[in-house]
Structure formats: C-alpha cells, structure tokens
Amino acid sequence: MFNLRPRLLYLTLAIGTLVSGLSYAVVQTPQAGSRVEVFRLDPVHCMAMFRVHHQGAGQFWGRFNDVTGTVDYPRDDSVAPVFDVAVNVGSIDTGTTKLDRTLIGPDFFNGREFENITFKSTSAERVDERQWKVDGELTLLGKTKPVTAMVEVTGVRGNPVVAKAGWEAIFTIKRSDFGMNWGVENGSLGDEVRLVIGLEGESGPPAKK
C-alpha cells in the first residue's frame, strides 16, 4: 500500500524551507524601492544626547529619553530623509535627579512652559552614500532657528511590508540663540551645545499595543 503521509511531510518541509530561505533573503537585503515610507520613531530605541562644556573644564553629557515623531524616507536612500522629531523636555536624564530638575526648570529648558524641543527638516543635500546634510528648524524655548545637521543613515532592515531604519544626526547649536543664557556670560557653562540624536523608526502598519 502506497503511504502518502511521508511524501506529504517531505513536500511540506521542502516548501517550508524554500519560503524560509526566501524570507531570510528578503530580510537581509531590503527590497530596493524609491517609495517614501513613513517611519514612526520608536521612543525606546531613540535618544537625544547633548554635550556642554562645564566650567571651562570637562564636557558634560546628558540625554533625553523620550524622542518621538516621524521620518519620511525611501529604503533605497534615493531621497533625503525628512524629519519631524519632538524631544520631551521632561525626559531629561543626567544620572542625577536633582540636576535633572534644575535642567527642566526655567533657568534651562523650562519644561513648565515648553514641553517639547522640535526639529523639522526643510531641505537636504547628499554628502555621500547614506549621508546627508539636513537643514531644518529647531524650536527650543519657543524660539525657532535654522540648524544644519549631519545625518548618517545607520541601517535599514525589513521585508516588503514593514521595515526598521536608523539615523544618527549630529549638530551644534548656540543655546544663547534660543534664550538659554544661564552661565554663558560667566563661562560656568558653555554656550555651544553638541547634540547627537540616535533615531530608530518602523514603517508599515502601527504595532498593536
């Protein structure tokens, strides 16, 4: 008697292997396409770090943990990423609670009045493969000023339906331009602040909570 079961099993295994292999190939090399997708930023994997010169001595680092927004970007890097990012002032984290509160306070970020720091890109210029010079408008303490960020696309990974992409933006501002003057005049805190923004976003349908 001819037994169908082992053959069916082998066939199923073969199809399964083929599908898995194809899926793996798709995941490793994202489908090239110039379609611009909207990547929603994932607050868990995004951060904004800032560096300021403290009392003319060391460079002090702090970070904001709550970064949200979107990046419009095609996976093939054919068009510049378009950023619309908000950083929640209340998520500041220096490692010291008391210092965090001072920085959220009116002497610095004034979180009571200005909940977010925002960046919206306005134009961009390609520097190299996956590297862009992005011009945009930074709003801090209610003042909007143009800034230029050097952006590196740190990676894109996904399948035809959903993808993850990452960007790292570095730029420097003068905080006094935005009215954050405390310590500038006497040099207790530097005026120039370097910002390093690490972003990761996901395209496709929104994840279920």
């Binding site: 994932d42 607050p43 868990v44 994997h45 009392q55 943990n65 709550d66 998520s91 984290d93 220096t94 490692g95 010291t96 609670t97 008391k98 210092l99 965090d100 509160r101 001072t102 959220i104 306070g105 009116p106 002497d107 004034n110 979180g111 009571r112 009045e113 303490l141 209610g142 003042k143 006094s176 009215g179 003057n181 405390w182 310590g183 005049e185 006497n186 207790s188 994840a207 909570k209």
Partner: protein, 308 residues
C-alpha cells in the same frame, strides 16, 4: 556655580541699592523729603530684582519670551511708580485703598505664571493689596529697623525655598533682595546711631509708602513665580508661611501690643517673623526628600516600552 558669580548677582544689586538708600535715609537733606526717603527702599528693591535678573539671564525682551521674564518687567514698573506713591504718602485711607486695589489689580492681571488661572491671579492681586494696606499702616508706626530686618529674614527664607524649587535665577534674585533689605537695615541702624531727627531724637527713617508698595508687590510675585515653577518638594504652605510672616508685624500695632517697650517690642516682632520662616524651612527639610540620585527613567513611563 562660581562664588564670584554669586557675589556679582547678589552683591551688585545690593551695592546699587545702597547708593539709593544710604543717602536718602542718612543725609538730613533727603531724609525728611517723603518722595526721596519714602521711595529709596522701593526703588532699591525694584532695581535689585532687575539687576540680578539681568546678571543671570540677560536683558529681558518685550513681550517677555518666557512667562517668568515678566518679573523684571513688573519690577521696572514698580521702581518707576515708587517715587510717585511715596509722594502721596499720608494721603489718607482713600489713597491707601486706591493704591492697594490698583497695584493688586494691575500686577495680578499682568503676572501670569504657568498653572495660574483667574482665581490664582485674583489671589495674587488680593495678597498684594492686603500686603500694601498692612505695610503702609505699619510703616507709619514702625521705623525702618524692624521692617527691614523682618524683610531681610523673609527674603532669605524665600531664597532658600527658591533653591529647593531648583530655580537658580530666582534663588539669586531673592538673595539680592535679602541683601538689599540687609543694606536698608544697616542704613536704618546707622541713621539711629549717628543721626537725630527734627525733634532731636535718634530715629530711623520709615520705609514709606514707596517701600511698602515695593515690598507688598515683590514678595507675592516672587512667591507665585517660585510656586509656579517648582520642581522640588516646596509646597504652597511653605510659601504662605514665609511670605505672610511680615503680616504679623501688623498684629503688634493693635491696641495693647503697640505700646511695648522699644527693645522688647523689637525682639517680639522679629521673633514673630522668624518663627513661621524657620517653621517653613524645618517642614521643608523634614519632608520627603527627592527620590534617589540614581537618575534615569523608568521604562514603565512609556506604555509602549518593550525590551529589545
């Protein structure tokens, strides 16, 4: 924070204040002119606020870029109004009430700090009005020594509260106001020791309606500002205890108490002011401290948080 910066922010306003207060209260040429002697403290305090703000935060813009930047703008107005109010000193109850209602109404309308609704604006206005009525009354009965020492203590208390709200600039502004009040106290002391009035008595000069107006406006303004931006453990009752302490001076002008001997009366009045200030500070520091200094944020803060 560099010590030089603290000295500049607190010392410079006090020095400028001294340039107004000392001549006005010590030199016989000025001390009997109500418009000068009665406005010196008010002008000195208003300028102290403006100068200390400018040293710390720069020149304020108009309209103010941030809500708390309204403080130096209002202080400029207070400084300019002080000589006018000092000149109408003693114009009677109608003048007193008009100034009280006018100043309370205008400042309460203009000073909108975060979290302040109409009710709180009215409360600020009423506080300023009542403070002026009380202080203008006391200022006629009590010479500069008591009132100035009382306000040196109060502004020192306010500075401690501001420090605990994590508001550096306001801490230094309150420090500058305390130092200026201290200069006024010292000037009053000098006036008592080295000068004699028209009746050949050793007397300090009264703060006048100008001084009363400035104190009545600045103390509640600084308190509301500190309360609005509090990021520490300072509660409303800490502000109330410290900032309403000078109102107790009014109690000692009631019949039965105002006839105390000078030394006894002075000690009792100052003790009455110190007690609520010290009580507020004890309550503040004996309360729950800030959570540990480990910093960082809790992943639970974000509903969507998932571990990688």
């Amino acid at each position: 924070m560099p010590i030089g910066q603290i000295l500049l922010t607190i010392g410079l306003p006090a020095l400028i204040g001294a340039l107004f207060i000392i001549p006005a209260w010590v030199l016989p040429k000025f001390r009997y002119t109500a418009g000068i002697a009665g406005s010196a403290l008010g002008v000195a305090l208003g300028l102290a606020l403006v100068v200390s703000f400018m040293v710390e935060a720069g020149v304020p813009s108009l309209p103010p870029a941030q809500k708390w930047h309204m403080l130096p703008v209002l202080a400029c107005g207070i400084t300019l109004l002080c000589p006018i109010i000092a000149m109408v000193d003693g114009s009677g109850e109608i003048g007193r009430w008009l100034i009280a209602i006018g100043s309370g109404g205008i400042i309460g309308w203009l000073a909108i700090f975060p979290g302040m609704d109409l009710l709180l604006q009215i409360l600020l206005g009423v506080w300023i009005a009542l403070s002026f009525i009380s202080l203008s009354w006391v200022s006629h009965r009590r010479r500069g020594l008591t009132v100035n020492l009382a306000y040196t203590i109060v502004f020192t208390g306010v500075s401690i509260l501001c420090m605990e709200t994590k508001f550096i600039t306001l801490t230094l502004i309150a420090g500058a106001l305390a130092a200026t009040s201290g200069v006024a106290f010292a000037s009053a002391l000098v006036a008592i020791i080295w000068t004699r009035d028209q009746e050949d008595k050793r007397r300090a000069i009264a703060i006048g309606w100008g001084g009363a107006f400035s104190l009545a406006a600045i103390v509640p303004l600084v308190a509301f500002c500190g309360w609005a931006y509090n990021l520490g453990e300072v509660q409303w009752f800490h502000w109330l205890l410290v900032c309403s302490a000078p109102m107790l001076l009014g109690l000692f002008e009631l019949p039965g108490l105002h006839q105390l001997k000078y030394g006894t009366g002075f000690v009792l009045r100052i003790t009455a002011v110190i007690i609520p200030v010290v009580l507020a500070i004890i309550l503040l520091y004996s309360g729950a401290p800030l959570e540990g200094d480990d910093g960082g944020y809790n992943l639970n803060d974000y509903e969507s948080a998932i571990m990688p």
